[in-house]
Symmetry: C2
Subunit: 555 residues, 2 copies
């Protein structure tokens, strides 16, 4: 059995110009990055505006488990399958962060025979977008501390700096630090910390911007910190948003690559799915919709978190209307939701599966009833799945209005997912009753309550008086913003240990954060980690390169 | 009068494939980065080994002054001039750091009509090399703290970590920090700090490596820190050098761009000229020598620092033999060396010039006698230079064996420097008596003394007993390494205020640092700054981008 990187390295990629020209993109509109990656020029992207949109298909998943579901793999496999049955389909994915690549998870370019290539490039630096985002973020940090050092005319309260530095690295040592030690030449000591780059508000802004003008305006609105009387100080007050936008100029153009089967794939941007909205860039999705008849994209985490944000933040802001949803699950992961630990997942277990199906039922019902979208369940097939298990799942789901289809793209590529592709095509012709979970006009508190009660199955939401006060204050100027919930992805509740479909719980809002440039209000429910750490044996120790320049150990 | 960026943006660049094919590089060997930048594949670079080398011309300068000399501009102008008179010339430069771009200095892609393009790309991200170097550096940092957090099997003494994090940003707040605060989940608190990326040992290693194999071996030799009984712990002990090399794989291939006049230019790597050796990559220089008849390159700072390291570190290690040296000066800068402050530099001042000429005399004598290389002085012409000033300089220099030639490439491009080009061609035919300042077999202490007495005009060197002890200890295992002096670039002495040609001073070694992967021993003489700060009004506030994506305010 070949590893992912071995499969990817055996693939014979087509020159990227060929992939582009199949989409009708002229050579003059592409900026090649090597022979197999390209950026699509923003002038060309703009020129597509009057063309009609293709069908947008969202791939989401059950609540994630350590057993793995394969959302990216299914997104790629479905794209290939749609092309396999003669449709013109494009895949839209997020760019992987180096944190997980060097940490635990490995790469994020699909797996098996459903991958995007060149997988080493995509997983390592790709076209430098994350580097540009990191620099733009950290330029603002340097400008803040520099401004304070040189007299602090704008009157920053150094206890109330609201902007952290970022790196694309899992580095727990940088979570909580003290900067500007060492004497007067180094500025005023204060508490600070680094987040991982995907948690930067610049990343969220980048992914929601529709033009350079929009990008620059949003960057200018970033709140860097507050004065002693708690007035916000913006990036535009520091005159830094222009230079930040200049740093992001090249990055903003969407990246085009291909799948193992030469389906076109846009991979662009990758905000965290907890404190940000967790979807690839609006520009990539919009461009793909102009160029393809079917656009298959994914959102972060499960259908309660990623899909909700995809709909309530990305679709709302960018005017997108999904046509159908694919909900990915594995039998293995459902058994985990049924209460079985990872080490005990081997072998048929109908009882555990039966219990775990509550998780998928809740998600399917949410998609159909709360998002108003047609849905199909894709079982990312594993060889150990038994017929009895598959049948049980199909029977249990029969009355929920979503077919359950076994998809074998991991082992077989696109042709292994043709049944799934055909069902998706059929769903795209169905009428939708697409709706947001809440209206923009609803107060922030009620928006959060709508998400919690409708999507999470919660009884209510709470917050202590300090947080209630902050929400009330944000309501004055930012009440029309969507809410971006940061909570554990592992459960419908805020307790990661509660698997399946807990209900009647109370969601406590621990903290609120304003993302004024991204134009949403983050409600933090439970502990969230914006700078991960490395495990005891990080995958970095297995990653290597031969004398001939071949990368090994990426999976 | 047009600004640098206006001149650069008006230029009509040729497709990079055309520039490459003029050099005989096949299309299959180039990895395009957009239409005007490319990397040259390492397989192709290797295939050139048996070809004869062209002539290597080093451009260096008098001791730098705030008045400006124009070393990069002259390197570019000379390259264009050599092509203008019918020679096949290639320029080799360092990649600019974003620190100065956003700080005080602005861009570093030449100036006026002697620039490399696309200047915005070169000054902002270029092909992502610095991002890759930063990531490789910071992966090692994360692995060190992670190792300690998970049990510290290798026995790091957290008071003796020898590896700092880096960013490509001028950010004084990060010079002295405390990391791993916030409780047991975040590791063991310790003092730390960030350097700017050009100060990373990874940058020095990158620029001295001749292959991926060599790169990986050098990365493995990096000393991350010491145990309590002061045994070094290496990057290879942490098994991180493979992943670091994998991150640097694409970056290691040299970058090809063009000048305004379409001369080919390799711009690759950019180590600091104080704690590192300050030259572009060995791979770029070696590749250029195989492809061009004349290769014009620059070294950091003045001829006492940058040129000495170019010769004693880069040329020695890479087996390069320069054919001639161009020493760049401006009349203005020489008057500054004569004791005049920048604000008083306007107007003819023969007295100050006469005094300042001592600086250029010392450099010319060093180049001719201590490096054994033929030399020409290039006066980077400014319109306010008077005939009497030029004549005085020429007269004074007449008996030093180096012609003084006015070069007008800034205003006129290559044709403004044809006289300089012709003299360089003539010098390249002269026999050289090329020599190092010291032999490899000399003890470290004596190497430092040779540099100080022969090149700086010092009477002696000193160090306190602690530093002497460290040097003695390093002598045991690393005595054969070259010395890399970190001292002020503004003076032959260690006092930046001592202009002209001070002599008889004593150079105190304040600190020594081992760069085991770069294979040199840094001797720190005086205060050196490895993380610069931003000025009160950073150039970042002027950098902007139009709605159409045109960058403005870079100079």
């Amino acid at each position: 059995m070949l590893s992912d990187i071995e499969i990817a390295q055996k693939a014979k990629a087509k020159p990227i110009g060929e992939i582009a020209s199949k989409l009708g993109i002229p050579t003059s509109a592409i900026e090649p990055y090597g022979h197999y990656k390209a950026k699509i020029g923003l002038d060309y992207v703009n020129s597509l505006k009057s063309k009609p949109d293709g069908k947008l298909i969202l791939v989401t998943a059950i609540s994630p488990t350590p057993a793995g579901e394969g959302k990216t793999t299914t997104t790629v496999g479905l794209g290939d399958a749609l092309n396999h049955i003669g449709k013109k389909a494009i895949v839209c994915l997020r760019e992987p962060s180096l944190g997980p690549v060097f940490g635990m998870k490995g790469g994020a370019a699909g797996g098996g025979y459903a991958q995007v290539i060149p997988m080493e490039d995509i997983n390592l630096h790709f076209t430098g977008d994350f580097g540009a985002i990191q620099l733009a973020n950290n330029l603002l940090s340097a400008m803040i501390d520099n401004h304070i050092h040189h007299g602090n005319e704008l009157g920053f309260d150094i206890r109330r700096i609201a902007w952290k530095r970022v790196l694309d690295m899992n580095d727990r040592a940088l979570r909580d630090i003290v900067v500007s030690l060492g004497g007067p030449g180094n500025g005023y000591p204060r508490e600070d910390g680094f987040d991982i780059v995907v948690a930067s508000e610049v990343m969220a802004i980048f992914c929601l911007s529709t033009s350079i003008k929009d990008l620059k305006e949003r960057l200018g609105k970033i709140v860097c910190g507050y004065t002693k009387d708690q007035k916000p100080i913006l990036a535009s007050d520091l005159k830094t948003h222009g230079a930040m936008a200049a740093l992001l100029k090249d990055a903003l153009a969407p990246n085009l690559v291909q799948t193992l089967e030469h389906s076109p794939a846009f991979i662009h941007g990758g905000p965290f799915a907890n404190i940000a909205h967790g979807c690839n860039s609006v520009l990539a999705t919009q461009t793909a919709l102009k160029l393809g008849d079917y656009v298959v994209t994914e959102a972060g985490f499960g259908a309660d978190l990623g899909a909700e944000k995809f709909i309530d933040i990305k679709c709302r802001k960018a005017g997108l209307k999904p046509a159908a949803v694919v909900l990915v699950a594995t039998i293995r992961a459902l058994k985990f939701h049924g209460g079985i630990e990872v080490k005990d997942l081997k072998g048929e277990n109908l009882d555990a599966l039966s219990k775990g199906i509550t998780n998928i039922e809740r998600h399917v019902n949410n998609i159909r009833n709360n998002y108003g979208l047609p849905c199909v369940v894709a079982i990312n097939h594993r060889t150990e799945d038994t017929d009895a298990e598959v049948k049980l799942l199909q029977d249990k789901m029969a009355h929920h209005g979503a077919k359950v289809i076994l998809a074998r793209h991991w082992a077989e590529g696109g042709k292994g997912a043709t049944e799934l592709a055909k069902e998706v095509v059929r769903l795209c012709e169905e009428p939708t009753d697409f709706k947001f979970v809440y209206e923009e006009s609803l107060p922030l508190w009620d928006k959060m309550k709508a998400i919690a009660t409708k999507i999470y199955g919660a009884a209510d939401i709470t917050a202590d008086s300090k947080v209630r006060g902050q929400i009330k204050k944000l309501q004055e100027n930012y009440g029309h913003y969507p809410v971006c919930v940061a909570k554990t992805q592992y459960s419908f509740s805020t307790d990661p240990q509660l698997r399946g479909a807990p209900s009647g719980h109370v969601v406590n809002i621990r903290e609120v954060r304003l993302a004024a440039g991204a134009e949403f209000v983050v409600m933090v429910c439970g502990d969230i980690m914006t700078m991960p750490g490395l495990p005891k044996v990080p995958s970095a120790v297995s990653i290597d390169i031969t004398d001939e320049g071949k990368i090994t150990g990426l999976f």
